[in-house]
Amino acid sequence: MMSAYMVDANIFLEVELKQERGSFCKAFLNKLKRGEMEGLTTDFIVDAIAIVMEDYGKTWIEIRKLLVSLTRYRSLRIYTLSLVDRMMATEFMKLYNLDFDDGTTYQAMRACNISQIVSYDNHFDNMPDIKRVTPEETVE
């Protein structure tokens, strides 16, 4: 069975930044593109990337490029958060002291039975039932 991962916003952002970590993130996203691994992200994460891009002067052209590119991955799915999912996120804020956006990510993982998140953000490191991995670890 293929490994399934939640993909955090910073992975896409690292590719956009094209810094040191970018090549590992690119290799990881290439695996999703080719269908060698299963990836999941949320509409909330996609919006976060778009909002950052806009704040750094990117126009509708680049933002659309990002959005349309997401439909070209063979095994990346986008989970659309419902109001109930958002309510559940507040429960995880209370239980695990997560931020709201991390709470929505955790809820999506829980809903889809995914236990690994690819991220450089250590906010998830103390969660009991999920494991954070870096792109480096997934492409080794």
């Binding site: 910073n10 590719v15 930044l17 970590r21 996203l29 659309t80 999912d85």
Partner: protein, 71 residues
């Protein structure tokens, strides 16, 4: 407590609905917007020169959202 009241079945159903919505949106996007090339290459370097890490930018998104709401 509500959080424990959701059975696995209910959560899977929510996931199924979300994925079905994604499949339908993906189909629609494919028919409406042309995209030529590689999806990973397409985004590479779009934020080149920004002297921050991906995690820093991700956290910045929260502040940007809040700023826009309060504007």
């Amino acid at each position: 407590m509500a959080v424990y009241g959701y059975g696995r079945g209910a959560l899977s159903k929510a996931a199924e609905e979300a994925f079905s919505q994604w499949s339908s949106e993906k189909e629609k996007a494919l028919s409406l917007f042309e995209f030529v090339g590689d999806p990973v290459e397409a985004i590479e370097g779009l934020l080149e020169g920004v002297g921050k890490s991906g995690v820093e930018l991700q956290h910045e998104a929260r502040r940007i959202r809040a700023r826009k709401v309060l504007r």
